[in-house]
Symmetry: C2
Subunit: 497 residues, 2 copies
């Protein structure tokens, strides 16, 4: 066997261990009895340590060198060249981080998650402080393993958005904020133009389940290879070929939360389910750029789900299931209502970006030591007032609302807003390539868009960094323009601005 | 750190990997979408290989030797001495089996399971033959790794019943068969004495779920650390401290299947949940003797569940839930009806042993090459006629009924009948130790028995082999007497013999 062949065998094992980790996480958040938390954190720590040891072994180092030598003549963007390059990048990063630190981070993340669930339930930030401080301390130890970066935050960001720099994000976010604030201001003056009362009422969960099932089926959800479960903080996970799992939470007084949330997670699921099988047991077999990942979920949730075209599909279905009258235009205006609000995952497309800018700033301040963990609620609440003009009534609906920090994921948030930007660029290009895209969506046919995305984006998995993939598909780097143009079009429909 | 300390750290990691494997299996049989099977088999193979490599490494060998040296003075039945002894035994066994063979067996088992589900559904044994042949071929390759055994079957049996020899089983089974056959003959002449018509009817699954929940709660099922799910072939699995999972299948026309099946699996669950926490991340942290394991499930299912005392608890509950009249004595007679039947897991206590003797014999013939896989249905059906006097209408209700062979588990079946024998011995001793045991059970109080079992059996986990534990608890080796005496008592109640 060639060195490349042996390397691939080892990488397949590493991919299996990754998938096992995904199953443990999925189970942890959907199925596990609460008292199993301690054992689960031990299991995750051991799995991480075993996987880490296998990755950073001298044997892997030798195989990487040998495989690299065998690539002679392979195109730099061939699968093999990229598999070796991405493996080398992961190897170099992993070699710098001691196995014990990896295990400690996994353990602290699992315990932090449990503490967060309880702290959020009781809106008790103080109870969560020691877990957050521990995660922050471990993040610092992680950053200390690296050198040659512009700022500490770069090191964390790189784990969620390979190749992306903090400075680039800051520049994009400055543009984005400059665009969003006047838009939100203009909308505020016309707040009577959109009324979302049709979304509020009494919507039995079993009926909502049918609505969601009917909506996801044409997207590509298929019970032979997908499943959907309930959880506290929805997520999607691909456990292997033919095994994609999404999660939802249900609000009996507001069906939009589950409906568009499920489309969001299904978008994530479609990305990973669409990666070609040849890449599945390689380091390219899961999406690695979370901006690309989020572009897929937001594109399905907002650009498709909340479009005028798809509102024509949803409205009669909603009317029938919940025995109510709702016309498509009313639904369209309701689900695109812009109003500053407390909860990120329920925020509209216009204010969403500011929720992210806030988190991005707080994370940088935490990492740079300009803000103490105990001061987070105050800083959070002040900035919510400043950016969105609203008062935060309690920490459950404020600083405790998101799962990420509990699990030690610092540097993750920016990718959400970057995902919106990427989605805007892909949406523009999809319309150029599929002439009758809106008509297809209006007819409930989601296959053409899914296949376009699979062909342009999904199939490649982690083969390209976000910027490179966007260049290939749209000819441009990540930018704010197309997303803002899309948003203005919608706000023009709804608010006449 | 001492060598013993280092060994224990490594053993804790191995225990974590075992627990992860249990979760993968649980998920495979309860949650996984069907198309995920191929990926799951790859993941299991990788997990097995990683775990195997860690166990058989030179480093482990050194730690075992070092730890052994540090045991000087420790009592031979101390936790530490047993941890080292059991680890040494596993190490020696694992060193003999190549990692590749372990991985192949895991992979073949996962694919075999999928094929069996489908073959059983269509009652198509031919479709299952190549998978069974593959499992048998791998079993031979496994046996070939060992030497110094009396017969090939000893090697397989030892994986499910450490220390037990085929000859010992054969002798016990000869005694058992000699006792059972006249009993069954006598019952046949009085078959009008028991009527189980009260068990048949229409029993909605949601009501059955309530019956099962009400029954398991006093046994110790607690939703903070247990869960129950649906599956094809029920099993129990302990994933870690505070995480015990049992599974059930539901028959809307026959509630006894789910009710007593759930008590059975809960009995398994209680065993593992009752192991003291100090042993949980050691090789003693799961039950290793399947006879002991099965003694716990059968004791709860049959000796408690189908007792006259507990029938007095169940009958009014059943009457209320299913809106029917059933008095305790009618229920007691119905659930102890003896009648030769097709399905092992639904067999009564008297005929059950013969189902096992049949499988024990067929397995030996397969392993010794006296029977080809393709000939299995014919041999099965002939022996069912011979031992139980009944005709097998199709393979789904015959040779395809059990999951074990599909997953490559040869040598497992005898432990079921041995479990009955052990349960008989423990039941006898529990009555001697707890003077008012029957009165407690009649009052629905199952705690005293559970605590007695935890203290005598559960807490030790895999610390003692079955024979040794029985000696400690009852003063005797495994024998047929107490079980047969118990059975005769019951048949005297029901059939007046």
């Amino acid at each position: 066997m060639t060195q490349l062949g042996e390397l691939k065998t080892r990488l397949a094992e590493l991919a299996d261990l990754d998938n096992i980790g995904h199953l443990l996480e999925w189970d942890h958040n959907t199925m596990m009895p609460p008292k199993g938390a301690q054992s689960r954190s031990e299991a995750l720590a051991t799995l991480g340590r075993v996987s880490h040891d296998l990755l950073i072994s001298d044997e892997t180092a030798g195989l990487l060198d040998g495989a690299n030598g065998e690539l002679d003549g392979a195109a730099p963007d061939s699968d093999d060249a990229r598999i070796v390059a991405v493996s080398r990048r992961r190897f170099d990063k992993a070699r710098r981080v001691p196995a014990e630190l990896v295990a400690e981070m996994a353990r602290a993340g699992a315990l932090g998650y449990e503490a967060w669930v309880e702290a959020r339930r009781r809106s008790d930030f103080a109870a969560f402080v020691p877990f957050m401080e521990r995660n922050l301390e471990l993040a610092h130890r992680y950053v200390d393993c690296f050198e040659g970066f512009d700022c500490a935050y770069d090191v964390l960001l790189d784990n969620f958005e390979p190749g992306m720099k903090t400075a680039q994000v800051a520049a994009l976010f400055a543009d984005l904020r400059a665009e969003l604030q006047p838009l939100i201001e203009a909308v505020r003056e016309r707040s009577d133009r959109a009324d979302d009362s049709c979304l509020h009422g009494s919507f039995p969960t079993d009926r909502q389940r049918r609505l969601v099932a009917d909506t996801l089926a044409p997207m590509g959800f298929d019970s032979d290879s997908w499943r959907m479960d309930d959880t506290v903080h929805p997520f999607a996970s691909n456990i292997g070929v033919g095994d994609t799992r999404i999660t939802t939470r249900w609000d009996e007084s507001y069906f939009a939360s589950a409906l568009y949330g499920a489309m969001h997670e299904c978008g994530h699921g479609l990305y990973e389910a669409g990666i070609v099988e040849e890449l599945k047991r390689t380091p390219l077999g899961h999406g690695e750029s979370l901006s690309l990942h989020e572009s897929q979920s937001r594109l399905w949730e907002n650009m498709v789900g909340r479009s005028r075209a798809f509102s024509g599909v949803l409205a009669p279905r909603i009317g029938e299931l919940f025995d109510m009258n709702v016309d498509p235009e009313t639904l369209y205006r309701a689900v695109n209502r812009v109003q500053p609000s407390l909860i990120r995952v329920e925020a509209d497309e216009a204010t969403y970006g500011l929720h992210i800018v806030l988190r991005f700033e707080l994370e940088q301040e935490l990492i740079e030591g300009r803000l103490a963990v105990a001061e987070l609620p105050e800083a959070w609440n002040a900035r919510m007032k400043d950016y969105l003009g609203i008062d935060v009534p309690d920490d459950a609906r404020g600083v405790l609302q998101d799962v990420h920090w509990s699990a030690g994921m610092l540097g993750y948030f920016p990718t959400y807003a970057l995902g919106n930007l990427v989605a805007g660029q892909l949406w523009e290009r999809a319309h150029a390539d599929i002439g009758d895209l809106d008509e297809r969506i209006a007819a409930g046919e989601l296959g053409p868009l899914r296949e376009w995305l699979r062909d342009r984006v999904h199939r490649h998995g982690a083969k390209f960094e976000a910027g490179e993939l966007l260049e290939r598909v749209t000819g441009a780097q990540i930018s704010v323009g197309p997303f803002v143009a899309y948003l203005k079009g919608k706000l023009s429909d709804v608010y006449g601005i």
